[in-house]
Structure formats: C-alpha cells, structure tokens
Symmetry: C2
Subunit: 226 residues, 2 copies
C-alpha cells in the first residue's frame, strides 16, 4: 500500500508517519519508484504499536524508541529483555536512583523480594522504583500502606504469574519480547483500573455498613456513617 493508504488504515497522519520514518521508529517501505514506497501489514502493526505505547501507555517517544530497539535485535539477550521489561516503568515515572531513596527503603524491597523467593539483581531498576514509592509514602506519613508490603507482593506475584501464562515470558523471540513489553505497559493500566474498581466497591460497602470509618462514627454516634 502507498503512504496515503497506510495513513488511512493505521489512523496515523502522513506527517506523523514521515516523522517516524525520519526518526527510524518505522522501517522504510519497499521502493516502487524514485518517489514512491510500498508499505505492508507490518508497517500498520508497527504504527499501532507506537501509538498504543505513546497514547494509551503514556510513554515518552524516547522510551518507545528504546523498547522498539530491544524488540528488533535479532538475537535478544536475556539482559536486554530484563532491561526492556523494566524500562517503561522506570522511565515513565522519570525515576532513577536518587539521593532521596534511602538505603533502608532499598533494603526493605530487597528483603521483600527474598521473602518471596524472587532471584533478582539488587541493581534492577524496579528495585529503586519500588524503594522510591515506599520512601515517598513514609515521607508523607502514610505508614499504613507501607505495612501492607507483603500483600502488595502477593498481588504482584499473581499478576506476574498471569503475565507468564499470557506471553511466554522467556523472551527468546521478537514476538515474546513484544508481548512482554506491551503486556507490561497495558497490564499496569489494567491492574491500576481494576484495583480502583475493587476499591470503589469496598468504599461503598464501608459507607453503607459504617465499618471502616471510625471518625464519622464517633462524630455521629449512630453507627451509620457515610
């Protein structure tokens, strides 16, 4: 197909497609004439992938470029796959190890990983992201959530098991790497929104029953709060 049709099929404007071509995010099509290229289904898929990571996943163009680069390596090394899987997370939050991340928070995350039998590198980017989130909670006085770390690990374990079943996490092929990255980015969003739905339900329940709201109960004294 020609550029105009690629644009129509993918829903991406020709100006944006040309930009991705210049930036190397999209491979050139086959040259038909001196000025015309021919594109195929792979180009449509790649454009959908780029738009999904940018628009739905909220990744930056630089992060999208990095993960696409990993996907394209003909012989993907395990280290690259691990990095790629963690990158959308660490870059989206704009996190790297900062001075604000205390050794105590990092140690707590490493101890949690050990409790759960997760054999990971102590310098995995996700260790620092988790430590930064924990540290921030404590700095803001939210110790309750920090006490629930083990339950969050349980929740994460179930999600990771589902990820394995879903995408053959071995990452030994280009397809498996793509499944891992797309699954991680969209899975974050899916998990976060399902968590909100389960919360809203519990929120309504506690408002109806008067449980879990000691403050208003004490004020009204009726035992029916919310």
């Amino acid at each position: 197909m020609r550029l105009a049709q690629l644009s129509e099929t993918s829903g991406v404007s020709t100006a944006t497609i040309k930009y991705y071509l210049r930036e190397g995010l999209l491979e050139p099509g086959d040259r038909v004439t001196a000025t015309q290229m021919d594109y195929d289904a792979r180009h449509v898929h790649r454009l959908r992938l780029i738009r999904a990571l940018l628009e739905v996943g909220g990744l930056s163009l630089a992060t999208v470029r990095n993960v696409l680069t990993v996907m394209e390596e003909p012989d993907v090394r395990p280290k690259d796959v691990e990095r790629a899987a963690q990158e959308p997370l660490s870059t989206r939050a704009g996190l790297q190890r900062t001075e604000a991340t205390s050794d105590a928070a990092v140690s707590e995350i490493l101890a949690l990983a050990e409790d759960w039998g997760w054999a990971i590198s102590p310098d995995s980017p996700a260790v620092y992201t988790a430590a930064e989130a924990l540290e921030t909670l404590l700095r803001l006085g939210q110790t309750g959530l920090a006490d629930q770390l083990d339950e969050y690990a349980r929740s994460a374990e179930i999600a990771a098991a589902a990820d394995v079943k879903a995408s053959h996490l071995d990452g030994s092929t280009r397809e498996a790497t793509e499944a891992l990255i797309v699954g991680n980015v969209m899975g974050d969003l899916l998990l976060a929104s399902l968590r909100r739905l389960a919360q809203v339900h519990r929120l309504r329940e506690s408002q109806r029953s008067g449980r879990c709201c000691p403050a208003s109960e004490n004020r009204s004294g009726t035992g029916h709060c919310g």
Copy 2:
C-alpha cells in the same frame, strides 16, 4: 518559619513556592509584616505532597490541583472521593471514553466486575481505562493477556483489600482522602515495580530450565516445559 526556611526544609525552591502560592495550590502563611509571611509544618507537608504527586507519581499539575481540591472540602461527599480516587489514573493515561473503546471491551470489564461482586457505576472512569487497555491489547494481537483478565482481577482484589486495611478507605475525613489518593498513586508504582521483580525472577527461571517456552520445546523436543 519564613519563606527561605520553608524552601530549605521542603527542598522546594522559593520561586516554585511562590508559583504554588499564586496558583492556589499552597495556602498563604500568616502575615507577620506587610511583606513577610509565616509558614508552618502544614505548608512543609503540603509542599512534599505536591512534589511527590508531580515527581514520583508523574501526575500533571492540573491533576494535582484537582485532587488537592477534593482533599480540602470540609465535608467530602462519597461521590467526590470516588472521583478523586480514580482521577489520577484516568488523567495520567490521558484517557476518557473514546470512539476507540468498543462496547464489547466495556461490557467485558463490567461483566468481570460483576463476577467479582464489585458494585460499581457503569460509568466509573476506571471502567473505561480498563476497557481501553483491554481493547489496545486485542488490537495489537495480544490475546494471551486478555485471557488472563480473571487473574488480574484477583491481583487487583488483593491490592484493594490491602488499601482498605492501610488507609481506612471510607474517605470521610481529610486525612482518609489524602491516604486514599497518595496510596493509589504510590501504590500503582509499587505494584508495577514489584510485578516487574516477580517477572524477572520467572524470566530467569524459565531461561534456566527451558520451561514455559513451548516454542523451544517444539524445536528441542525435550518435553520439559511448563
């Protein structure tokens, strides 16, 4: 304390503090002289909260303003709390219901919520965010993850139960609302990073054992795969 000390204690520059004051994100201090204000621990806390939501949580300034507004309402209504809890999610992803979100995806999320006994409004923002993530996975050919929806719901249920224990989710007080919002934003990050750590472990396991990779099984014919 004076502005200079507030800046030193909070780690936020005086120019940024003045900007937050002008924008109404930070309440004015007590006037000491015509040109000097006095700030206290509440201002330090508020500045830390704003920076955490912006820098660690990755929220936009507009979203931070919205959630702070909900926190400040003296008599928070349940509807407002529900909205505030979901807002950081829907706005971070920049999502609203779009034409791209099919009725089928929305129905699937609503059916999942019903299966789990989550009594929610069909028009909850998180329903559309979940549907958009699901729809995107299917559009990119990642059907494996879409088949694991029930496991993701299980993971979300465990996290939401931990959230309730952590922060008295009733949201009937300013403190409970703040705990809910901060817990949601940092909890997203914590869950996403712990999920990555659990994944990396499984990834390494499957590379060592050759399990969980049917493609290599078929090629090698060893029959050891999970």
